[in-house]
């Protein structure tokens, strides 16, 4: 065996012992580097006789090629080993917490309100917001509730002066809207309302949403058709509505609207107190006087109006038991409404 063969053997043995790519590199340099043994051999060629040089050169080059091939295969092996080691050392607990800032949540009333607006704006309702401090005219008189009308007792009103008050109903917005707009229109008036009532089931401030449609030939059947659509979208695809007589000064006829209980499908359960129905809103055909008060000809146009408590809808939708929860602002309550 000549020197070159020995050198290949020696290099292969050392490369095999090299554990890391760094060590392998050093071995490679020892043979193939600028000061390596193979390089030295090549350099020694100048000491040879000229006729021997081509053969020697050929041999050394062959050795170098063999060594390079050998190192590259070792390099690949070492890299694979090293990658494996790296991967196994880098295992993480994927169940550890993510890095992010938690979002907040919109208030359930805002969520419900947006959902309602979404349903009705799809049916062509625009949204109008009237003032929260109103005068007597818009809150009562124009709504066919003159002073001394029994309906004024139905609502305990917060007064600022004899004339100004905190609106007791979003219906007040109806009048302001109608004064500005010519029918036909559909409008929705959501907002805060106030009544001097404070007990387990009443809050002195709550939210209502009023809907008003005025057009030619609008009937009670249209009212129920629209409310059916609302109930199906808001509660369950099988929801139905039921009308029963009631009284509001600004509608005639007036109805209470019950929605079939989504929890039991109308069979009767604790939520609907066994009746299969849940009282959800009040509605009716707009009283002719109200239309007249707003300069709308009641012989040409008819309309219907409906009003609901947003808290009530939210309570039904989310199963919230206490009206207080909405204004206590406990973050443990509010944060459940993230999405």
């Amino acid at each position: 065996m000549d020197d070159t063969e020995k050198m290949v053997e020696e290099a292969t043995a050392e490369a095999e012992r090299a554990e890391s790519s760094r060590a392998l590199y050093e071995v490679k340099m020892k043979f193939l580097g600028r000061t390596g043994k193979v390089t030295a051999l090549l350099k020694s060629m100048k000491d040879l006789a000229a006729e021997h040089r081509p053969a020697f050169g050929k041999r050394v080059n062959a050795v170098r090629e063999r060594l390079e091939e050998m190192f590259s295969s070792f390099e690949q092996r070492v890299k694979e080993r090293e990658l494996e080691a790296k991967l196994s050392s880098e295992q993480i607990d994927v169940t550890m917490p993510a890095k992010r800032r938690s979002k907040g949540a919109l208030h359930p009333i805002t969520r419900t309100r947006m959902e309602l607006i979404d349903i009705f704006s799809g049916m062509g309702f625009e949204v109008f917001e009237g003032p929260e401090i109103e005068n007597e005219h818009y809150n009562f008189t124009a709504l066919n509730t003159p002073p001394d009308h029994p309906a004024r007792d139905m609502q305990d009103t917060f007064y600022i002066t004899d004339e100004f008050l905190l609106r007791t109903q979003t219906s007040a917005g109806q009048i302001r809207f109608m004064e500005k707009r010519e029918p036909p229109f559909k409008m929705l008036s959501p907002g805060r309302v106030f009544r001097s009532d404070d007990d387990a089931t009443h809050s002195p401030m709550f939210y209502q949403m009023e809907g008003l449609v005025v057009d030619r030939g609008v009937t009670m059947c249209d009212l129920q058709g629209m409310l059916d659509e609302f109930a199906r979208t808001m509660f369950a695809s099988t929801s139905k509505t039921r009308l029963r007589p009631s009284y509001f000064p600004f509608t005639e006829p007036s109805v209470e609207v019950d929605v079939s209980c989504a929890a039991c499908g109308g069979a009767g359960c604790a939520l609907c107190k066994g009746t299969g129905w849940i009282e959800v809103l009040g509605a009716g055909m707009v009283n002719r006087r109200v239309l007249e008060n707003c300069g709308v000809d009641p012989d040409e146009f008819t309309g219907f109006a409906f009003g609901m408590g947003i808290e009530r809808i939210a309570m039904l939708k989310y199963g919230i038991g206490h009206i207080r929860s909405f204004t206590e602002n406990d973050v443990r309550f509010l944060e459940q409404f993230k999405d």
Partner: protein, 806 residues
Amino acid sequence: MKVPFSWLKEYVEIDISARELEEKLFSCGFEVEELIDLGKDVENVVVGRIEACEKHPDADRLTVCTVDCGELGKRQIVTAATNVFAGARVPVALDGATVKHEGGVQKIKTGKLRGVVSEGMFCSGEELGINDDFYEGAEVNGILILDMGTPLGVDIRPIVGIDDYIFDIAVTANRPDCQSIYGMAREVAAVLKKPLKRLVETDFHPVSTDVKFSVEVKEPKLCPLYVGSYVKDVKIGVSPRWMRRRLALMGLRSVNNVVDITNYVLLEVGQPMHAFDRKFLHGDKIVVRRAEEGEKIVTLDEKEFTLHPDNLLICDGERPVALAGIMGGLNSEIKGDTTEVFLEAAVFARDSVRKTSRALGQRSDSSARFEKGVYEIFPWMAMTRALILMEELGCGTPTKCTAVGNLNSPSEYGGIAPKMIETTYEKIDGLLGIHVPKEEVYDILKRLGFGVTDMGASFSVSVPLERGDIDGWPDLAEEVIRMYGYEHIRPTFLENASVTHGGLTPAQKQELHFKETLVGEGYSEACGYSFYSEKDLDLLRLPADAPERRAIRIKNPLGEDLSVMRTILAPTMLQNVVRNVRRGNDSGRLFELANVYIADMLPLEMLPEERKHVSIALWGEGDFFDLKGAVEAVGEAFGLRFGYERGERPFLHPGISARIKLGEREVGWIGELHPAIAEGLALERRVCLCELDYAAVSAKFRKGISFTPVPKFPDVQRDLAVVVDEGVTCAELEACILHACKAAKRAELFDVYRDARLGAGKKSVALHITFAPDPAADKPISPETADGFFNKIVSNLRRCLGAELR
């Protein structure tokens, strides 16, 4: 309105159960809030006759009785009662029976009392839920002793009159005519399609008298009608059992026959009445007038009131004898020796009665009834009914002396002209959207007491006098549909209506986006009352002349805590934080977007400005700069550059508080809660608050997004560290840098370093500066160009702020 089932049956033949009637009433607009089964708690109690009583062998106080329960056989019952005797008929609660006990229900079982078997229990009136008005002797201390003829072994409930139901009906405000038994009976008859018996079947027989009463109504608006009638030969006594029981069913105690008749008529007809003892009415004269300031009256319940001219009085020739519509005076009360009575049935304005009743804190069944509204037909009906009862019960002799005040109608009872309405069947159908057969319309209105004249396509009705709520054809449509049934309505979807465009206005959309931006920053939306207390402003240490003190006050608040309309949202937010911390929520982030109310002038003479504010808070985790991040997030979302200047507020930490500005305009404030206030509220962890004038901020929202082309070449960054005086602010450095070089797009602080070696009162500030190439440039920013920018910046910093490069 409470209505006993048995009483309704007096006027309408009812052949359905109470439950079925409840449903019928519900369908025609009368929700039964509660259907009270009077005998529900009394089960398996029968009549027994005591055959023998013996002393208990081992207990002196107990008696062992053998009782005969007729067909049910004999029982041995041990009792502690002392009023039992052999031969007495008593209620016997058998084994397994239930009786009333201390507001609940007690179950009776066979057991041993001191070793002797007792197969049940004798019942007192209380255990059956009755008093003397139901059955004589029900209130004795001991067992109820029944009449001798009472049959043995039968259910006790019909015997003592508790086999009955009470309907507690919600009557809507437009139906004062249904605030009476007879009024409800009219509805029941209509819905059951049964005839309604007349209230007055017979007539009374007034006798002549020399007595003459005069009535002078000085306030015709407050007393639209006053009817009085003189009754002689009055014999005060006890009312008959049937009347006492009915009063008892309605929760009224029997007083004497005259007073009972007035109460009975109130319940039956819905007209409050009052009886005066004639001998105390000076001058046989009634004057209805306003009280004089400071005038006094003592009412029947012996309370003295000092009056005001808002209070209406009934006076005799000399002095007040009743608080109109509320309560009679003690000075003219019916007593045991009364022999002549002057009966009053009048209409008093509901508002006047309500105001007086509230102002004096004096309520009665009468005032409650007047507050609901009384029509002019009622006094006539009531007076007739009362006089018939007086005669029937042998309580007194009606006379021809009837005195009327403020009579608007041409003649008395029945003479009031009914309202007439003319309309078409088509109009009714048009409003309802369905076709109601003509015969149905006719029949329904007839049943409800309307006089109907069919005229082919149209018809006219005369409105019953007790239906003051009906004043147009839509009311008739309602009468028709509530009786015809809402189930006939077929849902349609605006078949004839126009297409309208719906949705939120741009401002409403922005508001939602604003909220969602804060939600994205980790803040949850809160919702607070629109009112708070003056004390909340004290808590914020706001001086007396602070603009926030100019708040709108509620005249009739629920309490001081909720008496002032908000001018600033921070107090509510602070309460939210305190409540959360008390509940163990150590950290959190909240915001609220709501109106504050700003009065131009107080008291209000025009509608105040309602201005949206947003309040943002964090506590527990995070500091001033975290909260500032929320404001910046809003700035980013809406294209705003907020400026911050040190600015103190009495409730903020003086060193950690700022004014927030948009351009030159101040639009809010931000800071850490003053440590002294925090300590006072036991808030141990840091609380930061911010409030923005949303109206002012939203006015500056970017109008849509405008695109500028992206430069072809990348930005170049340089870091800069300079030593400046402690007082130099980050904002000043930033402004100076951006001012020095147009290409400098951003200067962002990333480190502040203080060291003695820098010198006293000095700090080192490090910033990243980003240079952006001109979008139109055809080559990148070279290192040499960047160096040039950098040097320009350094020299500008040195010149303006005395900054030295580190």
